[in-house]
């Protein structure tokens, strides 16, 4: 782990993307479903997942998309990325969605569909189950 941006403790199933996510324009703010046809998570819902993705990109208003999906109960339980932009950092900070960044090796080790528990207070925050 590199950094804890928003602390918390959750368990869930990994939804992993190899592509960056632009929350505005890619994530439906009511349903939490990925709407960009070119995205590898197209038509998948990020609701209640541990969303693992390399980085976030694009419009600053994406922070409101995170606020909206949290308000609509369609947000991920936590987010894990290699590199975080301010859209995700501040969207998660406002809504208390746990958020950490990890190294390339740790990113490679996480696979789609894995069950993991995340505890940012633990010395070993990601536990595979």
């Amino acid at each position: 782990m590199k950094k804890i941006l928003v602390s918390g403790k959750v368990q869930g199933i990994v939804l992993k993307s190899e592509k960056p996510i632009n929350f505005l324009g890619t994530v439906d703010k009511k349903t939490g479903i990925i709407s960009d046809k070119n995205h590898d998570l197209f038509e998948k819902s990020i609701k209640d997942t541990i969303l693992v993705f390399p980085s976030s990109v694009g419009s600053s208003v994406g922070a409101y998309t995170i606020y909206s999906i949290k308000s609509n109960n369609t947000a991920p339980l936590a987010m894990i990325c290699k590199k975080v932009d301010l859209t995700v950092a501040t969207g998660c900070a406002l809504t208390n969605i746990p958020l950490i960044t990890i190294s390339d090796e740790e990113f490679s080790a996480i696979e789609n569909g894995m069950k993991i528990s995340l505890d940012t207070d633990s010395s070993n925050p990601i536990q595979y189950q």
């Binding site: 950094k3 941006l5 909206s68």
Partner: protein, 384 residues
């Protein structure tokens, strides 16, 4: 990040919920940007205005905080969804209008200047070199860092709002001296604004927080805005420097192949049902140039032109608006191509535009096809 006693007390909630929220956002921003402390900023520019993008949750959030929250520094605002002067021509539903006006009201209550523009750098005076600001609109942040000698992060809606409410922002690397680790070598000859938009889009994809761009010719305002718009759309990059950079900089070419890939990604239609100009919004110089190019010609199909209200007012006085309306243009202020509800996929299959930023959001958010063309090509093909 080190906080002062007063900042710590705000983070603990001793100065109320609004300040606690603002400092929580600033701390996350500081962690994300490796900042060691907060510094004062003089100007915040907020995104998160259009009801189409922030929705009911955003409208309720702003309405809630506006009861207590007040901005501490000059704060300006991104476009909203429509132009109140002519919204009745577009059959927009009442709920949208009501919610949008509530958002406007919340921002005004907080003390924000209702500028509704994504080009604050063209309609407000630029502060002295090196001034720290917090711009959430991505094209404006890149423009501020690269052209206007200002310093800003590529802020999110919430980090800019937190900066407006506190007058502070984390002292991140972008606010100090930032040296890019990558250089893009521009190889395309005789570029137009579409080329620059694609170059920006490419740079945003390959760059980290900043890039060098080598081989650029002198750009006009339209081309420069196109590049900032393209770059802000595709990545996290917040600044470009002109030049080759250090010898240890990774070098990447932007040539025909790279350009074609981006064109293929964003251009999905042979022709459009309507034309949009302005994403970023057009400034007075571009309006004047367009009026000059159109002399005696008129559009064969609908052409929507987006600009700030102050530009529309100036252009009307000079007579440009009259000329453009004679040429069949619809002039809209306070809103922009990106995510306006005035373009609806139920009525429109494809839109012709010269904006890469516009193309990305038309395709991915509005859900219509896009036909990319430079302005000179649009005038050649679509007017008579």
């Amino acid at each position: 990040m080190e906080l002062t006693k007063e900042e710590e007390s705000a983070l603990k909630g001793e100065q109320g919920e609004i300040m606690q929220m603002a400092y929580r956002i600033l701390v996350a921003t500081g962690e994300a940007t490796d900042a060691e402390r907060l510094i004062p900023i003089e100007w915040a520019h907020l995104s998160g205005v259009n009801y189409n993008t922030i929705g009911d949750a955003g409208e309720e959030f702003l309405s809630g905080i506006s009861k207590d929250a007040r901005v501490k520094v000059k704060t300006t605002l991104n476009p909203m969804g429509f132009d109140i002067d002519n919204v009745s021509n577009y059959g927009l539903d009442e709920n949208f209008i009501t919610k949008q006006l509530s958002i406007r009201n919340s921002y005004e209550t907080m003390g924000v200047t209702p500028s509704f523009s994504c080009i604050p750098y063209e309609i407000f005076d630029i502060p002295k070199d090196g001034t720290q600001v917090a711009f959430a609109e991505s094209n404006a942040a890149i423009h501020a860092n690269s052209y206007d000698n200002l310093k800003t992060n590529k802020e999110s809606s919430f980090s800019a709002l937190a900066s407006a409410l506190t007058g502070k922002s984390p002292y991140s690397s972008l606010r100090k001296e930032d040296s890019p680790n990558i250089t893009i070598r521009m190889k395309i000859k005789n570029p137009n604004e579409l080329t620059y938009g694609m170059l920006g889009f490419f740079a945003g994809k390959v760059g980290d927080t900043s890039v060098n761009i080598f081989g650029l010719e002198e750009m006009d305002k339209r081309q420069c805005k196109a590049m900032c718009g393209g770059m802000g759309t595709s990545g996290t990059c917040a600044k470009f420097l002109f030049g080759e950079g250090d010898s240890d900089c990774e070098k990447v070419d932007f040539d025909e192949k790279e350009m074609q890939n981006i064109h293929d990604e964003l251009n999905t239609a042979e022709k459009g049902d309507l034309i949009t100009l302005g994403s970023p919004q057009l400034g007075l110089e571009e309006i004047s140039d367009l009026a000059g190019k159109l002399k005696g010609r008129s559009f064969k199909k609908r052409c929507m032109i987006f600009c700030p209200r102050t530009v529309k007012e100036q252009a009307r006085k000079i007579g440009y608006i009259n000329e453009l309306e004679h040429a069949g243009c619809e002039i809209l202020s306070d809103c922009c191509t990106c995510l306006t509800p005035l373009i609806n996929k139920d009525d429109v299959d494809a839109v012709t535009t010269n904006s890469i930023k516009g193309a990305f959001y038309l395709k991915n958010s509005t859900g219509v096809d896009v036909n990319l063309k430079s302005l000179s090509q649009i005038i050649e093909d679509e007017t008579r």
